[in-house]
Amino acid sequence: MLLIRCPWCGERDEVEFRYGGQANVAYPADPEALTDAEWAEYLFVRDNPKGAFAERWVHTAGCRRWFSVVRDTVSYRMTATTATTATTATTPEAAQ
């Protein structure tokens, strides 16, 4: 089980959280201009790296707020936590 640091509540067990997938995926600025392939990319394709990954979690059993972390997908170690919104997440590069 992961020990996750909520920026507002501190370190809590993973079971208090829900996973939100890749961070920093912005809603298309001009949705009507997107091609089918661009829509598919936005809806279905996310990064899936073996290594540092910026992702979102929500503290469902606590403050119910979203935040971003950078986690290594092999060691599962979290190296950065950011209280932020969906569109201004931290990146793997920022943690290195």
């Binding site: 089980m1 996973y19 089918d36 829509w39 394709v45 899936n48 073996k50 992702e55 997908t73």
Partner: protein, 413 residues
């Protein structure tokens, strides 16, 4: 083949170090398959057997069948909901029924029946709907009331007083289990005998492309290998490989856990799965209870999972099977599964000339092994999708023609 003979364990073949050669890679092959698990071996087998392609290599970074093939819970069934998936899994089940004789190797295929339990009215409706859909599609399926469940699997608690009472179940009598590592050895032996080079300890680190961008080979830890065509069969690591080409795929890799108990005398006559309380249990030929859990919610390549998923699974198992209360867990493990947005696989060509994909089987790959290899071999050999694979092309995420199998995929993901 029906249920296993009582002395099945005594009939197990010896360890098969001598069942295939261990060749060095040649400079060039007509087809290179990346990944020496069940699907890669099955693909190589059918490339050689049905398409006459003998100049084929299977490259495995570790050892043959040491990844997901050795980490799954060995359940075989074909009672999927959508026509496209039921068709490919039923094709697989038909091949499973032929394989013990065709491969001339005893991998203890045991058609002991698969129960999928229903615990809510919605489960009942979904189960009955799936039974009807399966029958229309030529897949054997029955609906059992709780007393019939008890008759078929006496150790299941069907009393109405438990937290998640059993309201019924679907039954596929032709479903069952097989000994997964022996399946791999059987395939490896046959592919090797037809001339396929099975190369272990050979990790693909890059791709060779020609001036037009087509893939014409692979870079490996054992040197450059030219290839007429390259087929990926790398399960959870497919996106890691595709990233080397700048090819982005609708895949997320998650750890999927399982565990076995200590050896017990035969108590569990069939396979029992429960989506709602989330556990699936069978008893291996040697006597271990083999139990599956869910995927971790987060992306991961660590080949280990979270203890709270096991707790959840064990709680469900104990409610359904009070007889398990004193059983000890022997070991737990995790495999990395590649999950697609519609819980269906991706099979077919890619935008990169010369590169083919077989991935995204999520939690359901083992049971598909024969059909996966056969349709993939056809797709690679002919350059166009096998009819059974056509609905599973990468382009479905652009066209929107998804094969939404979340309901029948058995593991929530």
């Amino acid at each position: 083949m029906s249920s296993q003979p009582p002395d099945a364990a005594a009939q197990l073949p010896e360890h098969p170090d001598w069942l295939w050669r261990n060749p060095d890679p040649k400079p060039s092959y007509d087809v290179v398959i990346v990944g020496g698990g069940g699907h890669g071996l099955s693909t190589a087998y059918y490339l050689a057997r049905e398409h006459g392609l003998r100049n084929v290599a299977v490259l495995e970074r570790g050892w043959l069948a040491g990844g997901n093939m050795a980490r799954n819970t060995t359940i075989i069934r074909s009672n999927y909901l959508c026509e496209a998936s039921a068709a490919i899994y039923e094709h697989a089940l038909g091949l499973w029924e032929q394989w013990p004789q065709e491969l001339d190797y005893d991998f203890l295929f045991s058609q002991r029946g698969v129960l999928n339990l229903a615990h809510t009215l919605q489960d009942v409706r979904e189960g009955v709907r799936r039974v009807n859909a399966n029958r229309l599609g030529g897949v054997d399926a029955e609906w059992l009331e709780p007393d019939q469940v008890k008759e078929f699997c006496p150790i299941v608690d069907v009393s109405p007083d438990v937290r998640h009472p059993v309201l019924g179940a679907t039954l596929q009598r032709r479903g069952g289990i097989a000994k997964h590592d022996h399946v791999a050895w059987a395939l490896a032996r046959q592919a090797d005998a037809m001339g396929v080079d099975l190369i272990q300890g050979c990790e693909v680190t890059g791709f060779v492309r020609d001036g037009a961008g087509a893939v014409v080979g692979v870079e490996t830890t054992r040197g450059r290998i030219a290839a007429g065509r390259v087929g990926l069969a790398a399960a959870g690591h497919t996106s890691v490989l595709a990233d080397l080409l700048g090819l982005r795929l609708p895949l997320q890799s998650h750890p999927l856990q399982a565990l076995v108990s200590e050896l017990l005398e035969p108590v569990h006559p069939c396979v029992v799965m429960s989506n709602h309380v989330h556990v699936y249990v069978s008893q291996a030929h040697k006597g271990e209870l083999v139990m599956g859990a869910g995927v971790d919610s987060y992306n991961g390549y660590g080949q280990r999972g979270s203890i709270h998923l096991i707790e959840h699974q064990m709680a469900a198992a104990l409610e359904l099977f009070p007889i398990f209360a004193q059983a000890h867990v022997l070991r737990t493990w995790g495999g990395i599964v590649d999950v697609t947005p519609d819980a269906s696989p991706i099979i077919g060509p890619t935008p990169v000339e010369g590169l083919y994909l077989n991935c995204g089987w999520g939690t359901g790959g083992f049971k598909a092994t024969p059909a996966s290899g056969r349709v993939y071999a056809h797709t690679i050999a002919t350059g166009s999708p096998h009819p059974l694979a056509a609905p599973f092309g990468l382009d479905r995420f652009t066209t929107g023609a998804l094969v939404d199998e979340h309901g029948a995929a058995a593991v929530a993901h």
